[in-house]
């Protein structure tokens, strides 16, 4: 039974999450949303940027951890820092651009100036602070961060377990995902950003939802050549969803594309024939061409990392909660550092084809998600079913729980982790 008017938030939330279903109020209750910002977003490893986005000394990106603005930057020695975006004088943000390159962050209000390591370096007219302010105590506040395979995560939680152990079983899949540089280190190629009118968990679920693909993305599938359309017709094949622990899961849609360095002798798909010809023309040997061509379309899986980032086939998907019924999404294209232009251009065009606010896929996803949010207002009571595939689970080779590719195994994994953190 759902404890509607229960004052104890933990007990109320516990009553809203079963193994096979979750209550619709999780999408629409503003009190629950406030609780999530604290218990989920302030108490986890939150992905903030990819190292290639701040490749040079002095480069930065701004990001959000829940509602808290942060700066991810690289100092002059090449060290990465994640800093609270708040001047230590009277609290203005010191940086408002999404990304850029600077020598210092200078607060626009009274001109306090901070180095890229956060240290307060100078302030105008220091006389009035004589013997009452020590600059070394007033640097931008640094937030703990760790990286894995170029992915930068930060956390406000002092005793948070190491990133390594948090990622756990997901690391193997991150390693596989990073092969799509085609032999070159993965770098980001740009971000598409947009918002939809719906709760963030609707997006979290969607990254591990293969069931919707042939329905929602029918118009995308029609836009593919026959050979590629067959590859995307995966619901009856050998794919699976595996619970990787800590709320993470992987959904393998195209098993043949799990390892992009395997099977290099396979015939080159029709749609990549022009790319292969172009790369060969530029003098790349056959093996290099095959490696790039196989990596060009991305991997055959979505890795959903709890709570805010996914390695989704060929791109990073980041979510940021704005309010209980609004979510910001970034679709971040990736390619290879130093890879041939033709390769990165191919990756960009494929990304634009499906992703982003004008892609052939995302607008239809967005429409479905907004419908879920509107539907969540129907009736006083109601459940979101996530029981698909529960009667046919099996152990994976790694000893995890796995189910069919179109099962809701990944959603259950995420919601059990969510419950664990929300009821403490």
């Amino acid at each position: 039974m759902v404890l509607e008017n229960e004052h104890n938030m933990s007990a109320r939330i516990a009553s809203m999450i079963d193994t096979d279903k979750v209550h619709k109020a999780l999408y629409s209750d503003p009190d629950i949303f406030e609780e999530e910002l604290d218990k989920i977003f302030n108490n986890n490893w939150i992905w903030v940027a990819h190292e290639s986005e701040i490749a040079d000394a002095g480069s930065y990106r701004t990001a959000m951890i829940g509602r808290q603005p942060v700066i991810v930057c690289r100092d002059m020695e090449g060290q990465i820092h994640v800093l609270q975006n708040r001047c230590r004088h009277r609290g203005a943000t010191v940086c408002e651009s999404q990304a850029g390159k600077v020598r210092a962050f200078t607060c626009p209000y009274h001109g306090w100036s901070y180095g890229l390591n956060g240290a307060l370096r100078a302030l105008p007219r220091p006389e009035e602070y004589e013997s009452i302010l020590d600059k070394k105590d007033f640097g931008l506040i640094e937030i703990r961060h760790e990286t894995y395979q170029g992915m930068i995560f930060a956390t406000f939680k002092k005793d948070q377990e190491s990133l390594d152990s948090f990622l756990g079983g997901a690391k193997k899949w991150i390693d596989l995902f990073m092969k799509q540089g085609g032999g070159y280190p993965v770098k980001t190629l740009g971000r598409q950003q947009f918002r939809f009118r719906g709760n963030w968990k609707i997006q979290l679920e969607n990254t591990t939802d293969a069931y919707h693909f042939p329905v929602v993305h029918r118009s995308f599938i029609s836009s593919l050549d026959d050979q590629t359309a067959t590859v995307f017709d995966f619901l009856d094949d050998e794919g699976f969803v595996e619970d990787l622990g800590n709320g993470h899961s992987v959904m393998v849609m195209i098993p043949d594309l799990v390892d992009l360095e395997a099977n290099l002798e396979a015939p080159i798909p029709e749609r990549f024939a022009p790319l292969a010809a172009e790369l060969a023309k530029q003098g790349l040997d056959d093996l290099q061409v095959r490696k790039l061509v196989r990596a060009a379309g991305g991997t055959g899986f979505n890795l959903n990392l709890f709570p805010n980032i996914a390695c989704s086939m060929a791109f990073f998907r980041m979510l940021a909660p704005i309010s209980v019924n609004e979510t910001e999404i970034h679709h971040i294209a990736i390619g290879g550092t130093g890879a041939p232009d033709a390769y990165n251009q191919q990756r960009l065009r494929l990304h634009e084809h499906f992703q982003g606010p004008m892609g052939f896929g995302t607008p239809d996803d967005g429409e479905a998600w907004e419908r879920v949010q509107r539907g969540s207002m129907a009736g006083k009571d109601g459940w979101i079913m996530v029981n698909r595939g529960m009667s046919r689970l099996r152990p994976s080779p790694d000893g995890n729980v796995m189910g069919a590719v179109c099962s809701e195994t990944g959603m259950r994994a995420a919601y059990q982790q969510y419950k664990k953190q929300m009821i403490v």
Binding site: R191, Q192, R195, F196, R218, L348
Partner: protein
């Protein structure tokens, strides 16, 4: 028009052409719209503004002839859930200015806004448009259309039409 100078004549011609282009999109005459394009034409909705090399950047749309055709097919298919919600769109153009004109190429820019009714809420998308038009056997063809949306780095998900 006899006493008009060449630039004025071109402006009249270009204005009529751009109005027709927008009208075709509002009234969903997509097959006719495709014929306004040169075979090498590019339709680009960039994220960053004022750049030269959109080929090497991530955009919202970067359509050559083949992609334009696919995009139109998607809108006409009836299978794109998002396209069904955008029944009526209204485009307005103004501030049309010819930047330069050579024998066969005219560069134009103008102010633009698209309005749509999205679930009872009117949304609007202001943008600067840049066109490169080619004179081709007495008619104009679009060689390049660049749509610089005012909020290209933040706007909403379900855009189910062309700007």
């Amino acid at each position: 028009m006899d006493n008009m100078n060449q630039l004025d004549k071109s402006l009249v011609e270009v204005t009529a052409f751009l109005n027709r282009e927008a009208d075709m999109l509002d009234y969903k005459e997509y097959d006719e719209w495709l014929k306004l394009w040169s075979d090498t034409g590019l339709y680009i909705v960039p994220i960053a503004h004022g750049e030269e090399n959109y080929k090497d950047m991530l955009n919202l749309a970067y359509d050559d002839a083949a992609m334009r055709k696919l995009r139109i097919q998607r809108l006409q298919s009836g299978h794109a859930m998002s396209a069904k919600t955008a029944k009526i769109t209204i485009r307005t153009l103004s501030r049309i200015r010819i930047l330069d004109e050579s024998d066969d190429i005219i560069n134009v820019r103008c102010a633009y806004c698209l309005f749509e009714n999205k679930s009872g809420q009117i949304r609007h998308f202001p943008a600067n448009l840049r066109f490169k038009l080619r004179r081709d056997n007495g008619t104009l063809k679009i060689e390049e259309k660049i749509v610089e949306l005012m909020n290209s780095d933040t706007h909403l998900a379900t855009i189910a039409y062309l700007f």
